[in-house]
């Protein structure tokens, strides 16, 4: 299969304009008035208007948790358009990539620990839950991940899904996002003074923030061959993606960071800047954010730059789902040969240069390839390049692309192990116990100051960098810092929730909100240690292991020459716990992955949908045997398995069962100790299976 052969075959939307992509598309041309939210009282706020999904549209949906209802509606629409009823998606071994920043917080008293949750409510308090529910409902057994990288989460999820299809892990990926309006997030953006209660006016002189909004959007991503054989109709081709970290400031976007992300996407798409016809900008109508984005577009595209549109004028800002709405709009508009206008843009800000904004009068020109960009708190950027499907563009029938076996096998690579020192670095607590003259202490921003978890993560990453030779260190900084966390930085949200209850919106400390996104500890560490590559955060107990698997993939496929992966968590961020849950160590465990060095090779990765929702053990055993044969030594972290399953697994020959502590660092420690054994040749190769509650099972095979 040629590398670029990835198509989108279905779209779904449950937006502030109601159910369906058609309603979204109409709404992009009309906008809608903002209104006070139904769920909380805004009398004490300076800003009162928001966009919610119309209650009439929600009322038509089957009864379920609110975030699940929105997500299922959008996912079902996308699967139906793709012509993939649930059974066929299941038979195809389809996977799911999902993004959310706020799901679960719509039950704030329980999510933030003010009221003890019932056992039934516990899963609903996690951002992973809508994804787990959809995977179970549609029997999606393939690769699964939930990303939460602030407002760049959606494009990151699409990028992850693209990589799963490129490497042959799955022929079909459902990709989606949901975010729901919650008072804590509203109060946080309000305290940051990023909200308007009236109109979002991207790139206009009078721009004064965005209307906070909600919704769910999904798309079906598929290998072109799979679509062709089942006679699915491609709506668009995904040419490539790119990502970057700003290396500048946590909350003020930087033009050079956005530009690096866009250039990386163009390079991956093998697409010249002059080919891009249209750009779906992030466009949050923040004075600084729009200026940085406009400057980046000018820098990359120069004169004759593409037409720019920005749909947040119509949809408001749906946070982590925002990029998915842009992607859905971009694909739908491509099919129609139309471009949605930038609403309320009558006083375009001349200081932003000669940005060509789409208006109602814009003639429907051939508007592809399209660039879709998203940026998020922490200074992270993520960009995607789409095009019309190849068959439509050339008029020729596609076919004859021979399978490349190298693409369907996991690549072999080396884990960096310089000077016989361990490539693993651990930091417990905030103590900097690993002094190294070569890598100075993290240059923490003065404001906002890092919290204990940021410091811990930064110390661990610095230690890992210090273990590397200077070349690899430089490559890793330019490569990626991928992180995993189970509990994020929720202590900040819990404090905001408590402050709100006691003293109202004025009690919210804006800097608390600035520190509160799940991706923030990683982005803070990246900023302090001059890391400019992709910074992404995967959720759940196996999030750190997924970060490692994804870092290996980046290096194996040449997207990065070296990369860092970290699992981290801290007890203060767990606001409630399940009865059987173990303590959360305050820990960050880091792996460095590179092409050089005489370390341990990662010989293969398998990912399975979350344990507990599927007949798990047979699938697990088969997956391990397919990956490493029947004679491999296997270490299985059974923290996500029930007592019966754990007992069964422990009887399998050559399987060793361990059960790690809670959080995303401890599961990565299991990998670290097995890697150390393999490095010593005891045994020369081994498999580690990581499971977790509501988490995908990630299996990695290591070889000396």
């Amino acid at each position: 299969m040629s590398r670029d052969d990835i198509v989108i075959t279905g779209l779904g939307s449950m937006s502030v304009f109601g159910a369906g992509v058609a309603a979204l598309w109409r709404g992009l041309h009309t906008g809608r008035p903002a209104a006070p939210p139904a769920g909380f009282d805004v009398d004490r706020y300076r800003v009162r208007g928001v966009y919610e999904v119309p209650s009439a549209a929600v009322a038509n949906l089957p009864d379920d948790d609110y975030a699940v209802r929105l997500s299922v509606a959008a996912a079902d629409e996308a699967l139906a358009q793709a012509g993939l009823p649930d059974r066929q998606a299941a038979l195809s071994g389809a996977g799911l990539a999902f993004a959310s920043t706020s799901a679960g917080w719509h039950h704030p008293a329980e999510a933030f620990g003010a009221t003890a949750p019932t056992t039934e409510l516990m899963p609903l308090l996690r951002k992973e839950w809508p994804a787990v529910a959809i995977a179970a409902r549609n029997r999606l057994t393939g690769p699964f991940a939930v990303l939460s990288s602030a407002c760049a989460s959606s494009t990151g999820a699409l990028a992850w899904a693209v990589e799963r299809i490129r490497s042959g892990d799955a022929p079909v990926m459902l990709v989606g996002a949901v975010d729901v309006l919650t008072e804590v997030v509203f109060a946080g953006f309000h305290a940051m003074r990023l909200l308007t209660g009236e109109r979002t006016r991207p790139f206009s002189l009078g721009r004064n923030g965005f209307v906070l909004a909600e919704g769910a959007a999904f798309l079906v991503l598929e290998s072109a061959r799979h679509a062709r054989y089942r006679e699915g109709r491609p709506l668009a081709t995904v040419l490539g993606w790119g990502a970057s970290a700003d290396r500048a400031h946590l909350t003020t976007p930087a033009a050079h960071g956005v530009a690096r992300s866009v250039r990386a996407a163009l390079a991956d798409a093998r697409c010249g800047a002059d080919a891009i016809r249209l750009c779906y900008a992030h466009g949050t109508a923040s004075p600084a954010g729009d200026a940085a984005e406009a400057a980046a577009l000018a820098e990359v595209f120069g004169p004759g730059r593409p037409l720019v549109t920005a749909i947040k004028a119509a949809t408001g800002h749906t946070e982590g789902a925002a990029g998915m709405f842009s992607l859905v709009a971009a694909v739908h508009g491509m099919g129609l040969g139309q471009v949605p206008p930038v609403l309320y843009a009558d006083d375009q800000d001349a200081a932003l240069g000669d940005l060509r904004l789409a208006s109602a009068a814009t003639s429907p020109a051939p508007a592809a390839p399209v660039l879709v960009h998203a940026s998020g708190f922490g200074g992270v950027n993520s960009s995607v390049v789409l095009d019309v499907p190849a068959a439509l563009a050339t008029g020729a029938s596609a076919g004859g692309d021979a399978a490349d076996p190298a693409n369907t096998q996991p690549r072999v690579l080396l884990m960096t192990n310089s000077d016989d020192r361990t490539w693993r670095a651990e930091a417990t607590g905030a103590a900097g116990a690993y002094g190294s003259a070569e890598v100075p202490d993290p240059a923490w921003p003065r404001n906002p100051p890092p919290d204990a978890q940021c410091r811990m993560l930064g110390e661990a990453v610095r230690t890992a960098l210090a273990c590397l030779d200077p070349d690899t260190r430089r490559l890793a900084r330019d490569g990626a810092l991928l992180s995993g966390t189970e509990f994020g930085a929720q202590a900040h949200h819990a404090r905001m929730y408590a402050d709100l209850a006691v003293a109202g919106p004025r009690a919210i400390e804006p800097l608390d909100f600035a520190l509160s996104t799940f991706n923030l500890p990683a982005t803070m560490a990246a900023l302090a240690l001059d890391i400019g590559g992709q910074v992404e955060t995967f959720l759940g107990a196996t999030g750190g292991v997924e970060a490692l698997a994804s870092a290996c993939h980046l290096v194996a496929t040449g997207r990065a020459d070296a990369a860092l992966a970290v699992g981290h968590d801290a007890p203060e961020n767990r606001c409630w716990q399940r009865p059987e849950e173990k303590p959360v160590p305050a820990r960050a465990t880091v792996f460095a992955v590179g092409q050089r060095g005489a370390g341990v090779r990662v010989a293969g990765v398998r990912r399975l949908a979350p344990a507990g929702t599927l007949p798990e053990l047979t699938t697990l055993r088969v997956a391990v045997e397919e990956l490493a044969g029947a004679d491999a030594s296997v270490w299985c972290d059974a923290v996500g398995l029930g007592a019966q399953e754990t007992a069964a697994v422990s009887r399998w020959p050559r399987w060793t069962v361990v059960c790690s502590e809670a959080g995303a660092a401890a599961p990565l420690d299991v990998h670290a100790s097995v890697v150390e054994r393999v490095a010593r040749g005891e045994p020369a190769e081994a498999v580690v299976v990581s499971t977790g509650w509501l988490a995908p099972t990630v299996i990695i095979r290591y070889r000396r």
Partner: protein, 86 residues
């Protein structure tokens, strides 16, 4: 509240918002810029929240963003208090 009492309170709050930590007591002049007092654009948001809490006033986004000196903040608080009295 007398104007001088209000002025003193604004100055105390401004000094509290130096991200470098508590500063030695010093005389603050109206002309002193916020930047010189260690208040960057992010800290100004936090300072604005403190002023709103302390004086029980609302400061709108554009007004707060326009403040560059201690005198600007005093004028903002003054105007807000007058509005509240009316």
């Amino acid at each position: 509240m007398s104007n001088s009492a209000m002025y003193e309170r604004v100055c105390t709050i401004v000094l509290r918002h130096n991200p470098a930590g508590p500063q030695p007591a010093r005389q603050v002049a109206r002309e002193d810029t916020l930047v010189d007092l260690g208040v960057d654009s992010l800290e100004l948001l936090s300072l604005g929240a403190s002023l709103e809490r302390d004086f029980d006033i609302d400061i709108d986004d554009a007004t707060l963003a326009s403040a560059t000196s201690v005198g600007d903040l005093v004028a903002i608080v003054e105007a807000a208090l007058e509005r509240a009295e009316r």
